[in-house]
């Protein structure tokens, strides 16, 4: 059954603002001749009967105006891309500027690739925008109705926001197994989608458009992910990845075959024609030609798409005497507890978190200490004395440092990131005391409250204090100063924080201040990121490529935890961090050795 858009329902604000269209069902096609078929509207008759029965005697004048307006609409379409005209005013309001490479990509995918493509732009060039434009265009043309967007769990919300806010596409986040049938445009985590009973529901339906983000996870045809995506019945299909080729040409073959079976022939033919060894292609020109028919890659750099500069200031904060004493005591306590826990094969994560919180702020650590003390009951003597120390700290060196930085920029907008809600509240209290208009932004806020907070910050706020969880889907191109009040152990998170402001649409150089407390684990992290792997000098997107060479980005975090657990002295800690830095540097060298990167169209 074919579907096309007719009259949008204008029942309430929410639907109206989201452009929710009403769709029409069609009869099975009638063969006209060898060349084409006709699909006649099925719901047209029902609408006719309904209007004759329930809505008689409308004005002839409206009828005439309707026909005239429909004729004007058909004869004076002014753009090759309907979404461009349709969204132009909205984009002006929400600050979306479609870049020429994005327009060209959307146009090429629709006109040339006929709706099946791998969008392989380098990170930060707006693959999501391209996918949104393509989806909206197909919706406006009446060719797409049921849409499924599968992403890693951490990105689902971001997609949800982007599609709704930037394209007014009425997507919903999948929450239950009934959502697959109940809604027409769904964003879901791929890991949820592939599990039963969800998978069965998805596979039982025909989807007009399937979008898969981070599609490099589909490189192996033996995985459940690949098999699942391959089994979904879909008309148009977009795969988004910044790294479609990494280690093995077979992975590339798997990816392309998932998109368009037969594009590269059978695997045996592909191997014969194009594979010299696992990583080296032969006849690369011809292979590149074939790839360019299904893959689009836009790059950064001179003459193409340039970002503003990123100026990073590492700021080593010397703790006050009180704070240092507290940290030392806490470190000793944590080490003892970790050793005991490891011996008993218990989790050490609460203690690691406690240590990280102490680096962030004494208030964040105090909250956790209180919880641990309550849990420990009569054995909480140590914890209570630590708690007492934490709450009695009068001056926070980090807060002093933050106020100094903010003081330099008057009332210019600044975003401060922290990992902990406790620290967030702590900072807010101090900044408000200093007379700064401050808003908090975190994952606990409802969608409406998030919107309101963003509005408050854009209009009246001086400082936004955000956690990473809250910052997903947050685009603040109008702000160009970022303070990392504490440092996450996963560099990708740091990259994502900075990416909130350092992205397409940013017109000024971006200033980043990384606060790290001297003499703590944070100092080692800062050294590793700044001096050893020099991550802040990297071009946008280079980091994730390196980390994926190094292993999963999460594994860096676990290496740091390992180091922390095993190192007995400060010297050993330094040595271990040096080794970790060397490993990352090795991974950085790897891509240049791989000839398959030349294959990118």
């Amino acid at each position: 059954m074919e579907i096309r858009i007719t009259v949008p329902i204008l029942k309430n604000t929410r639907r109206a603002l989201l452009d929710a269209p009403k769709f029409e069902s069609f009869h099975d096609p009638v063969e006209i001749n060898d060349a084409f078929r006709v699909h006649f509207s099925k719901s047209g008759l029902a609408t006719l009967l309904h209007s004759m029965r329930y809505k008689p005697n409308a004005s002839w004048a409206w009828h005439r105006l309707c026909r005239e307006a429909e004729d004007l609409t058909r004869t004076h379409a002014v753009s090759r891309l309907l979404c461009l005209t349709h969204l132009s005013t909205h984009w002006e309001r929400v600050g979306v500027v479609p870049y020429s490479h994005q327009l060209a990509t959307a146009h090429r995918v629709i006109e040339e690739m006929r709706g099946r493509a791998i969008l392989a732009d380098e990170v930060g060039l707006g693959k999501t925008i391209e996918a949104g434009m393509i989806l909206k265009e197909y919706m406006l043309r009446g060719l797409v109705r049921r849409t499924l967007i599968l992403t890693p769990a951490s990105l689902s919300r971001q997609w949800f926001y982007e599609m709704r806010e930037k394209f007014r596409i009425p997507v919903v986040m999948q929450r239950s197994q009934y959502d697959w049938l109940r809604h027409e445009c769904i964003v879901a985590s791929i890991d949820t989608a592939k599990r039963q009973p969800h998978a069965a529901e998805i596979l039982s339906q025909d989807w007009d458009m399937l979008i898969v983000d981070e599609a490099h996870r589909l490189k192996n045809s033996r995985t459940q992910n690949w098999q699942f995506i391959n089994s979904i019945s879909k008309k148009y299909f977009l795969m988004l990845t910044a790294t479609p080729v990494q280690n093995d040409l077979k992975e590339l073959y798997n990816l392309i075959t998932l998109l368009k079976p037969g594009q590269l022939g059978t695997y045996r033919d592909f191997k014969q024609r194009f594979v010299q060894d696992k990583r080296t292609p032969k006849d690369s020109k011809q292979l590149q030609n074939l790839l360019s028919q299904v893959m689009i890659r836009n790059r950064r750099g001179k003459g193409t798409i340039e970002f503003t500069k990123r100026i990073v200031h590492p700021v080593a904060v010397t703790l006050t005497e009180q704070e240092q004493q507290f940290y030392r005591m806490l470190h000793n306590f944590v080490r003892t507890k970790m050793q005991t826990s490891l011996a008993l094969k218990r989790t050490i994560l609460p203690y690691i978190t406690l240590l990280r919180e102490a680096c962030s702020s004494s208030w964040a650590a105090a909250l956790t200490l209180k919880k641990l003390a309550e849990k420990a009951g009569p054995d909480s003597k140590d914890l209570l004395s630590l708690l007492e120390m934490a709450v009695n700290i009068e001056i926070s060196a980090k807060i002093e440092c933050l106020l100094k930085i903010l003081g330099e920029y008057g009332h210019e907008k600044v975003i401060v990131f922290t990992e902990y809600r406790g620290t967030q509240a702590f900072i807010k209290r101090h900044l408000e005391e200093a007379g700064l208009a401050t808003v908090n932004f975190d994952g606990s806020l409802s969608a409406g409250r998030k919107e309101f907070t963003k509005f408050l910050f854009s209009r009246y706020g001086d400082v936004m204090i955000s956690t990473e969880a809250g910052a997903e889907g947050l685009n603040l191109q109008y702000c160009n100063k970022v303070v990392n009040f504490d440092l996450p152990w996963n560099p990708m998170r740091l990259e994502q924080r900075i990416g909130r402001v350092h992205r397409l649409g940013q017109t000024q150089d971006v200033l980043v201040f990384n606060l790290a407390t001297a003499g703590t684990i944070e100092e080692h992290i800062l050294k590793l990121l700044h001096e050893k792997i020099n991550m802040f000098e990297m071009v946008v997107g280079e980091l994730d490529a390196i980390l994926s060479q190094f292993g999963a980005s999460g594994s860096l975090e676990s290496r740091v935890i390992d180091i922390l657990t095993k190192a007995d002295s400060e010297e050993e800690l330094r040595h271990e961090f040096d080794e970790l830095g060397d490993d990352i540097l090795k991974a950085r060298q790897l891509p240049s050795e791989v000839g398959i990167f030349e294959l990118y169209p």
Binding site: E2, F36, S79
Partner: protein, 323 residues
């Protein structure tokens, strides 16, 4: 078996060349089009009883009534004032103005309101005040004037290929007594200076053909019309589809002989074929966007000819005799 992917073959139809980026921008409408947009907006405002001011030739200041605002933006939205720019150039000069041209958000929204109002349009009574210059109703010159129901449907035909869709509108009317079908009936009604008045005290005939049957007749007629049209628009798309299908068939034939990890089932092949056809097969999607039931005059002349009564039915709207 040596397999050459279809995409390498030279006889594949030429792909659409990638256009230069400037071609993707929104084009300035022609002066004739601008006039059309202006007229549409003015009439819309008049019908909705809204105030419209022209600040400059292509820039309108629209005072949205409560009804229009709630229709445009959702329930309980109070009326407000907005600026509408009728061309991209004007919109660029006035950043506080919203673009208003076919395809733009405001155009589409207002068109929805118009469609909603017009979709209800049924049960008209047509009084023809002048037929051309010669005849004026109800001067029937001795004929019997009755009002017969006509179902008028405006159709949108959407010609879809893998990468393009083009649309055209046409109207088709059917006499619900005789089953006669008319193209261009809407234009004829306009030419006849149709006026919306209460039904005169003239006999009105009950429909003999149900709406469902009338709708089916129209589908048959459209089917016939489309089968007699040129199918040149569909041929390149059909050829492209054939090539893709052949490539797919070759791929799955090659698959069955090797020990790859792919699912070789017939089911997967059938699924891929179906997806290809859904995506690339050229087709026409026909759907109605407005309907009206019109009681239009039919004059019946009777003449006694050698004892046999001959009857001629004349439709003054289309100017045709109906036999």
């Amino acid at each position: 078996m040596s397999y050459i992917p279809s995409v390498l073959s030279n006889d594949r139809p030429a792909e659409t060349p990638v256009e230069s980026l400037t071609d993707l921008s929104i084009k300035e409408p022609t002066p004739a089009a601008l006039k059309g947009f202006q007229k549409f907006l003015e009439i819309f405002c008049q019908y909705m009883k809204m105030k419209l001011e022209w600040l400059c030739p292509n820039l309108a200041l629209l005072h949205l009534s409560n009804e229009a605002a709630s229709l445009l933006e959702g329930r309980r939205i109070p009326g407000y004032t907005c600026k509408l720019a009728l061309s991209p150039q004007t919109a660029a000069k006035h950043p506080d103005a919203a673009l208003f041209m076919p395809g733009s958000y405001h155009w589409d929204r207002i068109l929805e309101i118009v469609r909603e109002k017009a979709s209800n349009c049924s049960k008209y009574v047509v009084e023809i005040t002048a037929l051309g210059k010669a005849v004026s109703l109800p001067e029937t010159d001795g004929g019997l004037l009755v009002y017969e129901p006509h179902l008028l449907i405006h159709w949108c035909l959407n010609y879809v290929t893998g990468n393009v869709s083009q649309q055209r509108n046409l109207d088709l009317a059917i006499n619900l007594i005789s089953g006669d079908l008319f193209y261009g009936y809407f234009q004829s009604l306009l030419a006849c200076q149709l006026e919306e008045t209460p039904l005169p005290h003239i006999p009105k005939t009950r429909a003999k053909i149900s709406y469902k049957k009338a709708y089916d007749f129209m589908l048959q007629e459209l089917n016939y019309m489309l089968s007699n049209e040129s199918s040149a628009w569909a041929k390149p798309a059909q050829a492209h589809l054939e090539l893709e299908l052949t490539a797919l068939a070759k791929y799955y034939a090659g698959q069955s002989t090797e020990e790859s990890s792919f699912n070789k089932s017939q089911w997967e092949y059938d699924k891929s074929r179906r997806e290809l056809k859904q995506r690339l097969a050229p087709r026409v999607m026909a759907s109605p966007f407005a309907t009206a039931l019109i009681y239009a005059p039919i004059i019946t002349y009777e003449m006694d000819f050698d004892g046999e009564v001959l009857a001629l039915r004349f439709d003054p709207v289309t100017g045709q005799s109906l036999g």
